[in-house]
Amino acid sequence: GDDGGSGGEGGGGESAGAGVTMLPKNLGNPYFDASATGATRASEEFGGSFEIVGPDTATPDAQVPFINTAAQQGVDSLVVSANDPTAICDALEEASSAGTKVVTFDSDTDPECRDLFISQADAEGIATSQVDLIAEQIGGAGEVAILSAAANATNQNTWIELMQEYAASEYPDIEIVDVVYGNDDDQTSFDQTAALLQSYPDLAGIISPTTVGIAAAARYLSTSDAQGEVALTGLGTPNQMREYVEDGTVQSFALWNPEELGYLAAYAADALVSEEITGEEGDSFSAGDLGDYEVGADGVVVLGDPTVFDESNIDDFDF
């Protein structure tokens, strides 16, 4: 396809840098808003254009039409967080055959369906850091449950597996008793937390590796007798969690900076469009003030280790 010359806002034809179209799992998710902010900043820096589109429910079939549209409009690049590793592949392939560069971030597809995957941190890093956090909070022993997002969320499931392995090997006294799914919906996650406390009276801690889940769980704990009794950690944004860190419901939680994630993804897209890189292992490109990055195996680029937030530093962040 053309270089987006006629591609509406998506194309950013006249401008030097690439046009970046971001497709998060779903809109109205603060985590992805942060990424969008980062990506916007990036495209301003390299003089490209940026737009964000997406469904309001996080399902693959809802994502596909947006990919199709982007392909039709012949946008320069798509930056996607996949709701399903396979379901959106055909659509993505259509897009790249129409000349669109495809970058996945946060949640990957099958490697052959995209040019690059910008990983927030390698899965081990995420899994271990969360298990370490909970272990530290519950004194290395007790029942722990996991509150996940959708049952099919790729990254969630990888992390959960790794957590279980890591916990089994490093903390024999910690038992992961259950995994429940809040579908990244406030109400469901909230009720699932309540159910967890009902079903496991001796529950010591909850890990929720999803920003929606951890906030809902915190909200429930903060209003229940279990406040302070049951530890909670996971992946959350400071703005959602500030309240609960202050009232002592949550001691600490982790997250990489999603803004930087979006920032990096946008730069990667630009590098691909400008044919500065092809996505081969070993390619390297510079991502503005984040410095240089190198493409790893399977076209994966790793952002770095997650930041841990607690009352000492939480007020330094706003996303």
């Binding site: 809109l27 990244d184 406030d186 309540a194 009902q198 909200r219 500030r242 309240e243």
Partner: protein
């Protein structure tokens, strides 16, 4: 309704669902006594359904007039977000004002539904299915990807979601008060009974000179207002409002009403039944993990139990009908509906009267 016999029949329909509800609670408590006996358990048992209860009550008022309101989920989301925005945009706004604003907003949206249905002469199912999408769209374009966090709302407001009086959670008290007021109104006032008449045979109602348009309009306004109230409650209880708030809760609301014995073709049913239906739906959901059913199979079990509830309800109703028949033929006051006629006709003859 006006006599022990008919009243008894109606009551038994609600009774059927109530029995199922008690069984569910008992079973869950037997598995883990914290389900009922711990203070958290007790509170959740009462609080969690109160949101759906509000919606179900409003839904019942509409269904009784042989209409339906599918837009309540979107209305709830919209008002929940409004609540958050009121707090963020003007800090220190009194909580009461926020409640009133939410109810007013809901009533307004309900009014739109009502006007379209009453004057547009288009089936309510069509209209409200449309406004379901429209209202949700307005919500999305207004909120964008902004979301309300607990820190955006004063703790005085959030504490409403948890505080109790005499061991009864505040939100439950609120819901029950609404329930009693609406229920009493439907039973004992002219306008209340007219809603039943309209749903029972709209054409006859018009011929009879009942203010059909006005009543139907009011029904939708009530439903909207209660959905609005539910929106405020949602914000208070869950402390966060994102674009997903209230998504596809409308079918639960209708389901609760129907399970509670409210005839989908209008004219019969009570808010008491709907309330019990709401309690049943929510409590089943909460009980399943406690009973130890795998997360993945819970939805299936919920479905099965809903079916069980309505079938049981039908069986009891049928038995009552038979008794009525027997009495009437023995007294030879007037002969019965023929037992032979297929049950379908009992619902359809309603329809035929349309």
């Amino acid at each position: 309704m006006s006599t022990s016999r008919v009243g008894g029949l109606l009551r038994s329909r609600e009774l059927a669902v109530a029995v199922v509800l008690l069984l569910v609670v008992a079973l869950a408590t037997w598995n883990s006594d914290s389900f009922l006996l711990s203070s958290d358990g007790w509170r959740n048992l009462l609080v969690t359904p109160s949101l759906l209860l509000l919606l179900a009550v409003g839904q019942t008022v509409v269904i009784i007039t042989r209409n339906v309101d599918l837009s309540v989920g979107s209305v709830l989301g919209l008002t929940a977000y409004l609540t958050g925005r009121l707090f963020t945009d003007n800090p220190g706004i009194p909580v009461v004002v926020v409640f009133l604003a939410g109810i007013a907003m809901g009533a307004l949206l309900g009014l739109v539904n009502g006007v379209l249905v009453a004057f547009g002469k288009v089936p309510a199912l069509v209209i409200t299915l449309g406004t379901l999408y429209v209202y949700r769209g307005i919500f999305l374009s207004w909120a964008g990807s902004d979301r309300i966090n607990a820190s955006d709302m004063p703790s005085s407001f959030l504490s409403l979601g948890t505080s109790s009086v005499l061991g009864i959670p505040l939100l439950t008290v609120l819901a029950v008060v609404v329930l009693v007021v609406v229920g009493h109104h439907l039973r004992t006032t002219r306008s209340g009974r007219e809603l039943y008449a309209i749903g029972s045979d709209p054409d006859a109602a018009r011929l009879y000179g009942l203010p059909v348009t006005r009543r139907v309009l009011t029904a939708f306004v009530v439903s909207g207002a209660l959905a609005g109230l539910a929106g405020v409650v949602y914000a208070a209880r869950y402390g966060t409002v994102s674009s997903g708030a209230g998504l596809s809760i409308e079918l639960q609301a209708v389901g609760a009403a129907v399970i509670g014995g409210v005839a989908i073709f209008g004219g019969s049913g009570t808010v008491w039944g709907a309330a019990i239906g709401a309690f049943l739906l929510v409590t089943i959901n909460r009980a399943l993990p406690v009973v130890g059913i795998s997360d993945f199979w819970q939805q299936a079990v919920v479905g099965a139990l809903i079916l069980a509830a309505i079938v049981l309800d039908r069986v009891l109703a049928r038995r009552q009908e038979r008794r009525l028949v027997a009495e009437q033929t023995s007294v030879r006051l007037d002969a019965p509906p023929p037992p032979g006629t297929p049950p379908a006709s009992s619902s359809s003859s309603r329809k035929a009267h349309a």
